[in-house]
Every structure is written in C-alpha cells, then in structure tokens.
C-alpha cells in the first residue's frame, strides 16, 4: 500500500455491492485504498473518532439500516472537521426527490448504481479523474447527476 494512494470509503449495507465496488476498484488503474462501512451508524462512528483518517472520497449509499445516507450527509455537513470531505451519493434510486435533496444538502455528485460491471468501472474512473476543486467551486444542478 503506497502512501499516496487515494483513500476511498464506501458506506453500503449490501454485501454484493461492496464486492462489485471492490472488484471494480482493483481493475481501475489509479492507486487506491478502499475501505467499507456496513451501515450509517458505523460510518459515523468511524468518522467521528478524533484520530480517524478521513477519506479522499466518500461513496454514500442512501438506503441503509440504522442511519440513512441522508442522515449521515446532514451530520457530516454540520461537522466542521468533516464537512469538506468529497461525497458521492451511490444509490439504486434515481428519484428526482433524492437527487434534489442530496444536492441541496451539499453532496458533490450523484451516482446511480449501474447494472453493468463495465459501467461501474467507467463511473469510478470518471469520479477519480474529476478535478474536485473545479467541481466543488462550480457546483451546479445539471452536472450533479453523473451521466455516462
């Protein structure tokens, strides 16, 4: 594990999705270190540890037991230390309401879980190569939802 590897954190309760995610990252050429939280509660416990190593990008599933993705998002954005983490929503839902809500709450990008492994790889590539400084400063509604 290299020191300059990108630190990725995925919060998702679905084991299969975590597996797909892990496999996809292994096939991506960028050096990354991928870690997982199994639900919202665990995610927040991890992040709020004082000495926690904060991820470069947090992939956040919306529909999780104990604490939903939206609740986590709200808590993160209220926390001085955490609020600058880049957050990619990673959800099955493509409902307008969910997209609108998370956009307003300050998520950086919205990814609808693809139904093709190759699409997943493309998406991950896309997300990793985004210039986040540019993306965060020019946040707008139109490119919030990631389209391939």
């Amino acid at each position: 594990m290299q020191k300059n590897a990108l630190h990725i954190l995925l919060a998702d309760d679905d084991e299969d999705d975590r597996l797909f995610f892990k496999d996809a990252f292994e096939e991506v050429k960028v050096q990354t270190k991928v870690e997982f939280a199994f639900d919202g509660m665990q995610l927040m416990e991890y992040l709020t540890q004082p000495d926690a190593k904060l991820p470069d990008i947090l992939f956040l599933d919306l529909n999780m037991p104990k604490k939903t993705g939206k609740e986590c998002l709200a808590e993160i954005k209220q926390n001085e230390r955490l609020k600058n983490i880049i957050i990619a929503i990673y959800s099955t839902s493509s409902s307008e309401q969910d997209i609108e809500d998370t956009f307003v709450q300050g998520a950086n990008i919205y990814i609808k879980k693809p139904s093709d492994f190759n699409d997943l790889k493309k998406i991950i590539n896309e997300v990793l190569t985004v210039n986040w400084h540019y993306q965060t400063s020019g946040l707008n509604r139109d490119n919030f939802l990631l389209r391939l």
Binding site: D14, D16, S95, F117, L120
Partner: protein, 594 residues
C-alpha cells in the same frame, strides 16, 4: 324591494286637507264677524230708536202740559190741570232715561242740557201764564206776552229735539256704513271659497279611494308572496326571523318553529328562547355572536347544532343583516338553514375522501417502493451477468451462452417495465407545479431527447408554433416524447416516418360530447403519422395500462407509454383521443384547456 309601492299621495292628501280646513276656518271667522257686526248694528238701531221714543215722550209730555193748561185757562175747571201736574214727572223720567242713553256722547249731552234749560223756561212760562190768567191776578197784556213767549219756547224745544234726533240718525248711518265696509265679503266670493274647499275634500276623497284600490292589489300580491315564501321555506329547509331592535320584539317565520320542532306559533319567541335550543357545545359561541349582531349590525355565517324537544340534533347555518326601513326603524333580519342532511352527507363524503386518499397514498407508495425494491435485485442480476459474460463466456457451452443471453434479455425487459412503471407512478404522485411554459420549447426538448432514434429512422417532423400554457413542464415534455416515440416505433418498415404536428385554438362546443363545456376554449394539438396504424376498434383500449396491440417480440414495449400520456393529459384537465387507419397512419389528438 321594488314591489313596495310608493304611496306619495298621503303627503298630497295632507296638504289638500290642510288647505280645505284653512278655507273653512276663514269662512267661519268671517261669518262670526259678520254676525257680531249685525248684532252691534241692531243694538245701535235699538239705541237710536229708544232715544227717539224718549224724545217723543218728552215732547208729548210738554204738549200734554200745554193742552191741559189751555183747557184750564179756558174752562177754569181744575180737572184740566192734572195732565199738567203729571207732565213734570214724565218729563223728569224721560230726561233721566235720555241722560243715560246719551252718556257716551258728549255732544248729545250738551244738547240735552240745552233742551233741559228750554224745558225749565217753558215750565216757568206755564207758571206765569197760570198766574196772570187767575181772576185775582189777571193781567191781559202780561198773559199774552207769556203765552206768546211759551209758543216761541215750544218751537225752540221742538227744534232742539229734532236736532238731537238728526244727530242720532247721522251717527247711526255712519256706523252702519262702517260695518258695511268691514264685512264687504261678497256672497259670491264666500260661496266660491266654500266650493273650493269642497272640491279639495272631494279630490282627497278620490285619491283615498284610488289608494285603497291600489293597496288592495298590493295587499293581495303581498299575501301571495308571503304564502310563496312560507312554502319555499318549507321546501328549502330554511327559516327567517325578524328582530325589531327598538321594540325588542322578535317574530319567527312559520318554518322557524318547525325547524325547532314545534308547530307554527306554538310559543312567543324572546331573545333568550332561541338559546335554549342551541346545543350545549355551541351555546357560548352563539351567545357571543348574538351579542355581536347588536354591535356589528350583521351576522356572518355561523354553523352550530340545535336540540329539538324530542332530543333530535339538527345542524343549522345562520346569517343575518340589519335593515333600516324608510321610517328609520332598525330591524335585524336573520335566516337559518337546516343543513343537517348536507352536513351528514359531507361527513360521509369527507370520510370516504380520506379513505380514498389513504388508499391512493398506499397504492402510490406501494408502487414506488415496489419499483425501487425490485430494481435492486434486478440490477444485481444484470451486474452478475455482465461479470459472467466478461470472464467466463469463452469456456461456456453454446446452450449455456444461450441461456445467459436469454436471462440478459429478460432482465433488460424487466428493467424497462420497472422504469416505465416508476415513471407512471411518478406522473401520479409528484407535486403538480403549473408553470407558464412555451410548448414549442418543450417540444424541442422532446425532439432533442429522441434525436438518436429520429436520425436512425430518418424521420421527418413538421412542427408548427405551439402556444404558451400553464402546464407541468416535464410532464408535457414526457407526453411529447411518448407520442413522437410511439410514431417512430410503429413506423412502416419501408417508409421513412413523417410526423406532422398541428395546433388550433377551438371552442369547446365543437366537441360537445368530449370536452368539458364549462371551459370555453381548448388548444387542439394533433400528431399525425404515416405509420402502420392500428385497428380503430382499439382506439380507446390503447390508453389502458399494460394494454398492448403487438407481441413484445415484434415491438418492444411495456404498454405503459400511452397510459402515461393519458395520465399527463388528465393532470392538465385535458383530453386525448386516437384514431387510425391501418397501414396508413395514426392521429393522436390532445386537447388542453386554454
């Protein structure tokens, strides 16, 4: 209150009566004065006459004395002397009477004084005549002198009396003349005045009888309308009450008693009576609003319950208004509506409505959740398949590869179904925000969305200018996408699709059976294509959810697209119809209210 006639004649009647009374009063005062003057003049006449008589008496007494004396001097018989002796007394009596009669006239008094002196001289002359005719003292010369002197005196006396009579007569004439001047009101004038008064009274009488006829007519109309009112109160289940604020008297209409569960006129209503009927729950509120009536002079609608004597609960709605009539008296008019039936119906309706809303919500959320939750395993199936095909296809048997590809196709179809279902449920449940939008713009967006398919099929789309309307923009865009998409999908194999869009503003009366006639104008937008068309007998069923006219292997589809179109048009209170000639083309027509 148009029907209340104006009886202005009552005022003119009053004027006529006052004039007539004044004329009569004037006439009678003139008559009274006339009468008094007549009385005065007759008194004056009597006075004159009396003076006249007394003067004549005076004269005759002196004449008697003269005659008696002469008889005595000639015969020397003392019997002739008695009238002479009495005459003195008679003269005195007359004199006193005259003095009284002329007391108010100083000139006559002077005359009387002069007369009196002459009479005294006359009597002195009598004495002297007697003295010188006596045989003892007879002196012919002196007797002659005195006799002659008596004669002269006598003429003076007569002269004086005549003068006094003249004065009286003149005075009388003067007075009579004055009276005549004063009461110079001629009989013709009096009679014409009287006739005028009579005419006035007759006019008044005519007016009164005319008014009575009119009153009778209006009275009958009033009776009819009050009868109608009572009947309509009964039918319409409402009642009225009047509250005279000045006299504090309250009148209930017949139906008011019935609403309260009594026979008409069963009791005399007071301010407090009504409160006794009001249900305990509403008593305080009604009491307050009753106070409010007096203060605000009006009563907004109040809704409350009353309890009838048989413990039946009725729901009432009441309102009131202050009326000030022409005489300035303030009357509060109130109307009570018995809304029990409507109220109960309303409650039932509300319950049903909330039930419906609940089940609708349940359905929507079921639909939404089902679609979402169905997506998850499907997505995994698809992802797993994609992984399989990547890694292991090479080492798989032909049949295995075939199965995998079949699974892939089925999964894809399942995805389309779920996506469409989701779209359908979303057209139903998302909030409907109507924004004034250019339909031309929305149409261009839809065209952009379908660009790929349009180019692939080499389709020609001929559009027209579309109006700006208050719509839910993304739904109308979806509608256009579905309609054009439909035409593209069901095109004829060897002909490039041609879609013509036309727009017209039409009057709803043009389609009396289809359109809501309370909305006057609609925009009619038609989508005509040259596609394969369909059997017109299905022109209604194609809008029903999951109805398909073709097998799914021929044309991929879920049977949701047109159902979504119908839903969207319904959301806009519009209409969609379809017609077609097989192998020639189809026409989809949408009507959107202006």
């Amino acid at each position: 209150m148009k029907w209340i006639p104006k009886f202005n004649s009552s005022n003119s009647l009053r004027v006529i009566f006052v004039i007539a009374i004044f004329i009569l009063l004037f006439l009678s005062s003139i008559a009274y004065k006339h009468n008094r003057d007549l009385n005065e003049s007759s008194k004056l006449l009597m006075h004159n006459y009396e003076i006249n008589i007394q003067l004549e008496r005076l004269m005759s007494a002196i004449k008697d004395a003269e005659t008696g004396q002469r008889g005595y001097i000639i015969t020397r018989n003392s019997r002739f002397l008695s009238p002479y002796l009495f005459s003195r007394d008679k003269v005195n009596t007359s004199f006193i009477a005259l003095r009284k009669l002329t007391a108010d006239n100083p000139k006559q008094q002077q005359n009387l004084q002069r007369l009196f002196k002459l009479i005294i001289l006359r009597f002195a002359s009598f004495e002297n005549c007697l003295k010188y005719s006596e045989p003892a003292t007879y002196d012919k010369r002196k007797l002659d002198n005195h006799m002659f002197g008596g004669r002269i005196l006598m003429e003076n006396i007569r002269f004086q009396v005549d003068e006094m009579n003249d004065i009286e007569k003149k005075y009388l004439q003067k007075r009579l003349k004055i009276y005549d001047q004063e009461t110079s009101l001629g009989p013709v004038f009096s009679i014409s005045l009287f006739l005028a008064a009579m005419t006035f009274i007759l006019l008044a009488y005519r007016q009164i009888s005319k008014d009575i006829v009119r009153l009778k007519i209006y009275n009958r109309r009033l009776l009819i309308s009050s009868g109608l009112m009572a009947e309509s109160e009964k039918i319409g289940k409402f009642s009225t009450w009047q509250w005279d604020l000045e006299t504090d008297k309250i009148i209930y209409s017949d139906n008011q008693f019935r609403l309260l569960g009594y026979e008409p006129g069963a009791f005399v209503p007071t301010k407090e009576t009504f409160l006794e009927f009001v249900h305990a729950d509403d008593k305080a509120m009604i009491e307050k609003s009753m106070e409010g009536i007096v203060n605000h002079k009006s009563l907004p609608f109040v809704y409350y319950k009353i309890v009838r004597p048989d413990h039946q609960i009725r729901y009432l709605k009441s309102t009131g208004k202050l009326l000030v009539d022409r005489n300035g008296s303030k009357i509060l008019l109130g109307i009570n509506f018995d809304i029990t039936d409507e109220h109960l119906l309303n409650i039932e309706l509300q319950e049903r409505n909330s039930e419906l809303e609940k089940s609708n919500k349940e359905l929507a959320s079921f639909n939404h959740v089902a679609s979402h939750d169905l997506q998850e395993p499907l997505r995994k199936i698809q992802t797993f398949i994609s992984r399989v095909s990547d890694a292991d296809k090479a080492v798989m048997s032909e049949s295995g590869k075939n199965y995998i590809s079949k699974i892939e196709i089925s999964a894809k179809r399942m995805r389309v179904l779920i996506d469409d279902l989701l779209l359908f449920s979303r057209t139903n449940t998302t909030k409907k925000e109507f924004i004034k939008s250019s339909l031309t713009e929305l149409f261009e967006n839809a065209q952009l969305e379908l660009n790929e398919a349009i180019e692939e099929k080499k389709a020609v789309i001929i559009t027209t200018k579309l109006p700006k309307l208050h719509v839910i923009p993304y739904q109308i865009e979806q509608l256009f996408i579905n309609l054009i998409g439909n035409s593209l999908k069901y095109s004829q194999n060897d002909i490039a699709p041609k879609i013509v869009i036309e727009c017209d503003k039409i009057h709803s009366t043009l389609y009396p059976e289809l359109l809501d006639q309370s909305v006057k104008k609609f925009y009619k937008i038609t989508f005509s294509d040259n596609g394969m068309g369909f059997d017109p007998q299905f022109k209604e069923t194609i809008f029903i959810l999951f109805q398909r006219l073709h097998s799914k292997t021929e044309y991929p589809g879920t049977g949701i697209g047109l159902a979504i179109c119908k839903k969207i048009v319904d959301n806009h209170k519009g209409y969609i119809i379809a017609d077609s000639t097989p192998n020639k083309g189809s026409v989809f027509t949408i009507f959107l209210p202006e």
